[in-house]
Structures are given as structure tokens and as C-alpha cells.
Amino acid sequence: MTRVSPREALSDALVMAQRELGATLRKPALLVVSIVQPVMLLLIFRYVFGGAIRTPNGSYANYLLPAILVLTGIFGSLMTGIGISEDLAKGVVDRLRSLPMARAAPLVGRTLSDLVRNAVSLVVMLGVGYLVGFRPNQSIDRFLAAMALVLAFAYVFSWISATIGLLARDPETAQSLGFIWVFPLTFASSAFVPTHSMPAAIQAFAQVNPMTLSVDAVRALTVGGHATTPLLGSLAWFAALLLVFVPLAVSRYRALE
């Protein structure tokens, strides 16, 4: 049985990543769309609801922005599944699957290029955040660790999104399926309001929700607080989710007919 060498597999993934990045550069609308949604949420929560929300120690901008950064990663990761389902619908995947490339390369390439795109979105969001009053006050190391965590979060969710895209097979379904899990994950968490005012059942969910853990860790690393517990919790979630969704997405891709 013929196999693809590791060097070829890496090259395949990079060629695919390059393809996606090229497409993003030529259709910057996609990049804008994935930034507009978190910006709108940021403005709504900062200026519409923010005045009524009481958060522990400090400004609501400092409470809100870490959540918006993580959310930017989630919105960015939704594009992974939509892009994959577009390729499926257009017949591009058939062409790719008939080539002697590593079978996982299209998925690895796309999640990597989405990581780069998310990094760009993140920088933009930090700029917008600064304008609305976000003032990180921790060390540069802690700040960079927070950004790495946001990108890791986005990368993990790209694989979930990829799995959904492969199951949905068409872009419209992928988009609506994508949003179904985004809402509970985002709102039943500490992202916008502290969890202690929520009913017990939702609070229980919110406290183990990876969104809560990651947002809390990013908060601690950027504007102060206890980082270790939510950080370790986040990393445990990432490992578990990758262990489930990478093989799931790859096997779904292999099983396409």
C-alpha cells in the first residue's frame, strides 16, 4: 500500500493553507463579516446593556473585552465549516480527494489558515477594544499568553466547525447548524454577565462551560485575577475536544462519497 510521506503531508497542508489565505485576501468581505458580528456584540453590550450590568472590581469594558476576544475566535471558527461545505458543494473536494495528497491535508490546511485569519481579527478587535476603554494592566507575558489562549480556543472550535461543515454538506445548513451551539455556549457563560445571578441549572452549566473557563482565564491574564484554575480547565477542554473532533472530522472526510 502506497503512503504519503510526512514531508509530503506537511507540504500538502501548507499548500492548502496557502490556498485558503489567498482566497481570504481576495475576498476580504469574509474577513470583515467575521469581525462585524463581534464588534456589534461589543458595542451593544458595552453601550446598551453595559450600564445596567454590575461586574466585580473594575470597568465593564475590562470585563467584556476578554469575552469579545474569545467570541471573535468562535465567529472566526464558524467560517471553517462554511468554507468546507462550500468546497463540498462546488466539487472542489472531489478533485482534491482524487489527488495523491494526504487525506487530512485539506482540513489541517484550512484550520491553519483560519488560525492566521483569526489572529488578524484578534488584532483588529484589540484596537476596537482599546477605543471603547479596554485597558490590559498585566505583564506582557500574561497578555501574550491570553492571546495564545484565544487563538487556541478558536483553533479547537475550527475542528468542531469543520465536523459540522462535513456533516451539513451545504453552506446554508452549515451556517445555521453552526449558530445553534454558539448561542447557548456564549450566553450561558460568564462572557457578558457574572454567573452568580443565573438559575442553579444554568449556573452549573455555565461554570464548566469552556467559554466561561477561557473567558475567565483571559480576564485574569489581561486585567488581573486568579488564572491557574480556568487556564488548566480550558486546556483540559481543548485537549478533550481535539481528541474527539480531529479524528471525527478526518474520518468524516475520508468517508465522504
Binding site: 509530503e8 507540504s11 499548500v15 490556498r19 481576495r26 466539487g91 482524487s98 462519497e257
Partner: protein, 323 residues
């Protein structure tokens, strides 16, 4: 090397739920030839191509492409093939050249060789001028050409073309035929599917008629035509009232069976020998029958298909609708 067939399929089966797409299909295609899979929509053409191109797993049976089993060694198959599916799978935001370079790199040709090879096939398919435009700006015919070009980048030994001209205008269709003919004349093995008789007739050295997930007939265009019936000699006379005399004159020749009167002034006689037309002309001349038309008609592939499957092809329906 030449002893390995390009395609060897034995008892291949594939179902999608309750729909049987391939029903124990057997087929052998020689290397260096064009094999056309001819059949109506839903006959199993695309399913067979997808199974051979390792895009789907057969439920049972065996398919070997250039010596590689599609299930046991799919990568071995993919290194030897190029596939142009029913939809032109080109990336619209990339230029034609970038599309081809990407494919080259995924065949692991390396950066420099991929670029060189992309330039070469663009030239060959008359796309050099459009090479650095986005593929999204290409016409339908240009996209198909780019798609075909993409299948050649990796210098595959076998090319699959799934309905390569469906949806193309007549001019683009003729251009694409020309390109396939060129490849054929260079000795590339090609498996093409089509629902058009004229396409199979024009391009293929071997035709397999597929219906209900099986091959129902196989051979060259002419052997398939012979299976349905002999060629017939058709004669048209200037004067209708000479029909009976003409029948007697033709009856004296050793045709394959007695002459038939198709209409007043029109007769036919089954061909028995190559010199039958010449002898018929001489016999009719002797009685001054006044021949205004004479032709030898072989059955069309349309008629062959109808005889084999009891159904008309979409191609024929199309021309009937046009008429």
C-alpha cells in the same frame, strides 16, 4: 507493463440506500485507449467513475486501476489518475495558473516543476492569455478546459472525464473534442462517460453501454452497430411507377434477403457484399430505372442503444425536441 489493463472491474456493486447504482458490473479497459461509458442518466456511469477514482468504496466486487486495487491501495491509484468531474472544480478566486500550480504541488511535483508544468498545459489548452485572470471570469468552455488541464498537470496515465461536454455550447464542445482526440492520439488512456452517441462514436475506440448498473453491450462503434442489424442499401428512383420493375431487378442480385419497398420509388436491400451497390447501380441502369439517390445506411448508435436497452437516449430526445 503493457499487459496491465488500465481498468479491470469484476462484479462491482454499490448501493445508496435502496437504490442500486452498480449491480455486479464487469469491465476491462485496455491501456492507451479511449473507453466510453455510454448510458442514460442514472445508469451508474458516475458511480463507476467515482469508485475507480477512489472517491467511493464499492460494497462488493473488485476494481483495479493500472494494477492498483482501489480499496487496498487508493493512493497508488491516485498517483496514476486525473479526474475531471461533472462540475468544473476550479477555484474561482484563484487565477487559472494558480489553480494548476496548486494541483501540481498536490501531485508533489515541487514548486518549480509545478510552475513549469502549469505553463505547459495552459499553453496546450489555449489558456495562456487568460492564465493570470481569475478563473471566476472564465466562460463555461474555458472552465472545462482548465478543468481538463488540471487533470493533466500530474502526467497521469489514465484520465477520467465524467460527461466532459454536458452543458457546453456547440463550439466549446467541438474544441473539447479536439483536445480529447489529441490526447487519444498521443496514447493517453481515457475513460469518459457520456449520454451522447455522437460523442462516443467520435472519440472512443471502445464503447461500453451501461444500463441499470451493468454493462449491457461492449465493443467498437461498428461492432455494436452490427449487433443490431446489417447495413442496408437504399435506392431512390425518379419515377414512382418503376418501383416494381426495380424490385425485380434488385431481387435478381444476391442481397441478404429480398428487397423491400419502403415507399413508392424507394427500395432497400440488406447488404451482403461490398460490391452490392455497384452491381445494383448496373442492374437498375440496364432497365433505365432513373436512380436519383443511393446510399448505404448503417444503424446509428441511437438505434443500437434503443435495441439494447429498450430506451431512448437523452441525446436522441434532445434532437427530437429540437426538431
Amino acid at each position: 507493463m503493457t499487459s496491465v489493463p488500465a481498468i479491470q472491474v469484476e462484479g462491482l456493486r454499490k448501493s445508496f440506500g435502496k437504490v442500486v447504482a452498480l449491480d455486479g458490473l464487469d469491465l476491462v479497459g485496455a491501456e492507451g485507449r479511449v473507453l466510453a461509458l455510454l448510458g442514460p442518466n442514472g445508469a451508474g456511469k458516475t458511480t463507476l467513475v467515482r469508485a475507480l477514482a477512489t472517491l467511493l468504496r464499492p460494497d462488493a466486487g473488485r476494481a483495479v486501476v493500472l494494477g492498483h486495487d482501489v480499496v487496498a491501495d487508493p493512493l497508488g491509484v491516485r498517483r496514476e489518475i486525473g479526474l475531471a468531474g461533472q462540475f468544473a472544480a476550479v477555484d474561482e478566486v484563484m487565477t487559472g495558473r494558480e489553480n494548476l500550480i496548486m494541483v501540481g504541488r498536490l501531485y508533489h511535483l515541487g514548486r518549480v516543476e509545478s510552475q513549469r508544468r502549469a505553463g505547459e498545459v495552459l499553453e496546450r489548452f489555449g489558456l495562456s492569455d487568460a492564465a493570470d485572470r481569475r478563473a471566476g471570469t472564465y466562460s463555461g468552455g474555458m472552465r472545462r478546459r482548465l478543468d481538463l488541464a488540471a487533470t493533466l498537470v500530474g502526467r497521469p496515465r489514465l484520465i477520467f472525464l465524467d460527461e466532459p461536454t454536458t452543458g457546453l455550447d456547440p463550439r466549446s464542445r467541438a474544441q473539447l473534442w479536439e483536445m480529447v482526440e489529441q490526447l487519444r492520439d498521443e496514447g493517453t488512456s481515457i475513460l469518459l462517460t457520456t449520454q451522447y452517441m455522437d460523442e462516443a462514436d467520435q472519440l472512443a475506440q471502445q464503447i461500453a453501454v451501461i444500463d441499470g448498473g451493468r454493462i449491457v453491450a461492449e465493443g467498437t462503434a461498428s461492432t455494436l452497430k452490427e449487433r443490431v442489424g446489417r447495413s442496408r442499401l437504399l435506392v431512390r428512383l425518379a419515377e414512382r411507377d418503376r418501383t416494381e420493375e426495380a424490385r425485380a431487378a434488385l431481387g435478381a442480385l444476391d442481397g441478404d434477403g429480398p428487397p423491400e419497398i419502403l415507399a413508392p420509388g424507394e427500395l432497400s436491400l440488406a447488404m451482403s457484399a461490398d460490391d452490392l451497390p455497384a452491381r445494383a447501380v448496373r442492374a437498375l441502369d440496364r432497365i433505365n430505372a432513373g436512380i436519383v439517390g443511393i446510399e448505404v445506411r448503417t444503424p446509428t448508435l441511437e438505434e443500437v442503444f434503443f435495441a439494447l436497452t429498450g430506451r431512448r437516449t437523452d441525446g436522441e430526445r434532445r434532437t427530437e425536441e429540437a426538431a
